[in-house]
């Protein structure tokens, strides 16, 4: 499949300088980016072996002796291109705080308990239709130092590759109806309201497993559309 990657699609992304999120002030480019044509380097990307994702890597609740505390959830969906076609065999990596809002990372000092049964990292590869599925616990909200009384809405970090290195995406999946949305400068760094909603998962009753776990659906749309003769 030959895909084209219109740069206009990048308008959905947040501006790199978003001063309400203070860390962007000294880490965003001040000089203009150089526009260039896409070459084979940008239009190809890594392919992974079967060893990249091991059995069970998509279940964050079974990595330790016991089960983690918190609300067990299923997170699933499709990785799609800009024309809605599934992106097959692509790698997803997720990482998240535990149900108390604490990351296992050594530098997270939030005084909420760590859970010895939860690391918070997972991997999955999409199937031939672009479908993926994780089992995890719902992460807690947590405070951060950006401004007075700053709290991040509950979120799961996603890293996705796609058809080419140019479609590489790191994003965050949010949960529907979070009361912290209006106050979060990272969520609101995405200036287009419709684009913001594409980062919010949908509660999925149909795939909620009775007596076991709520389900959320999160489709991820990566850059890439069918190349037409006009575009090549």
């Amino acid at each position: 499949m030959t895909l084209a990657y219109p740069t206009a699609s990048n308008a959905a992304h947040p501006p790199r300088l978003s001063p309400a999120y203070k860390s962007t002030v000294k880490r965003s480019p001040a000089k203009p980016l150089i526009v260039m044509r896409h070459t084979l380097t940008e239009l190809t990307g890594p392919v992974y072996g079967h060893e990249t994702v091991r059995d069970g890597d998509n279940d964050l609740t079974t990595q330790h002796k016991g089960e983690p505390l918190g609300e067990r959830i299923i997170v699933h969906g499709h990785v799609l291109d800009e024309e809605g076609r599934g992106v097959p065999n692509t790698l997803l990596e997720i990482w998240q705080a535990n149900s108390c809002g604490r990351y296992i990372h050594v530098r997270d000092q939030h005084p909420a308990p760590l859970d010895p049964n939860f690391t918070g990292a997972g991997r999955a590869q999409t199937d031939a239709q672009g479908y993926y599925r994780f089992v995890t616990v719902k992460p807690g909200a947590y405070p951060w130092g950006n401004h007075h009384n700053a709290w991040r809405p509950a979120h799961i970090h996603f890293s996705v590759f796609g058809h080419a290195f140019i479609s590489r995406l790191v994003t965050q999946m949010y949960f529907p109806g979070d009361p912290l949305f209006p106050f979060d400068p990272i969520f609101n760094s995405v200036t287009d309201a419709n684009a913001r909603t594409r980062m919010i998962s949908a509660f999925d009753l149909e795939n909620t497993e009775p007596e076991w776990a709520l389900c959320y659906r999160f489709n991820i749309v990566l850059r890439g559309r069918n190349a037409t003769p006009m575009e090549t």
Binding site: T7, S9, A12, H13, P14, R16, Y21, K22, V25, K26, R27, S28, P29, A30, K31, I34, M36, H38, T39, L40, T41, E42, T44, G45, P46, V47, R54, H78, L80, E82, G84, E93, W95, Y103, I104, H105, V106, R107, D108, T119, A121, R123, Q129, G130, H157, A164, F165, R168, V170, Q172, I186, F187, S189, V190, A195, R196, R198, N219, I220, R223
Partner: protein
């Protein structure tokens, strides 16, 4: 699967400060690494090189919570991706590497010097490595390229030619004196007087 109606791509968000245990655990966490900063496979032909440097912010402070990813061709200029319709690589060389910066903002990749890859007009490009930079405070990763000091082809590279002459040096890793394998040094400046050239792709 039937096509799903989509209304635009999923926006990017920062990798945040706490990605290491998931993306670059390197033995420090109870999780395995999917990727490493050593791309060299035993069967890969070509000149072994190391590329190293540090990442700095707009105040000149090192960035210790940064992740760098590289993507490159093999020594013959072929990508380990079936979409590269030319001759497929005949080695296990994957061409992809990932490295988290250390407490001093330092990074290093051990790899193979890439061969020449054509541009869309079939014109040869100088050997180069595509680099994506992720960090806390970066809502969207930056793309840049690493070129190698002393390559005659740099003078006619069509992408370098797009860059104002006084900024080209930010893309060219300097070769350092070394005993065995070649070592190239390239610092990344996210902002400031020596700001690295980033590409809009």
């Amino acid at each position: 699967m039937p096509e799903t109606k989509v209304k635009g791509i999923t926006p990017s968000q920062t990798v945040g400060p706490f990605f290491a245990y998931g993306l670059t655990p390197t033995g420090r966490y109870d999780w395995n690494d999917a990727f490493s900063n050593n791309l060299v496979t035993v069967d890969a032909t070509g000149e072994r090189i190391r590329i190293e440097g540090r990442v700095f912010d707009g105040d000149g402070q090192p960035v210790p919570d940064c992740m760098l990813e590289i993507w490159q061709a093999d020594a013959q200029g072929r990508f380990a991706d079936p979409k590269d319709k030319r001759a497929m690589p005949n080695s296990k060389f994957r061409g992809f590497g990932r490295c988290g910066t250390d407490g001093n903002g330092g990074y290093a990749f051990d790899t193979i010097k890439p061969g020449s890859v054509p541009d869309p007009d079939g014109k040869p490009q100088a050997p180069h490595i595509l680099l994506a930079i992720f960090a806390r405070g970066m809502l969207l990763h930056n793309f840049t390229r690493i070129y190698l000091d002393g390559e005659a082809a740099n003078a006619s590279d069509p992408v370098l030619a797009l860059v104002p002459a006084d900024r080209r040096a930010t893309l060219i890793a300097k070769r350092e004196a070394s005993g065995s394998n070649a070592i190239y040094h390239l610092d990344i400046h996210l902002q400031g007087d020596n700001e690295t050239v980033f590409f809009e792709i």
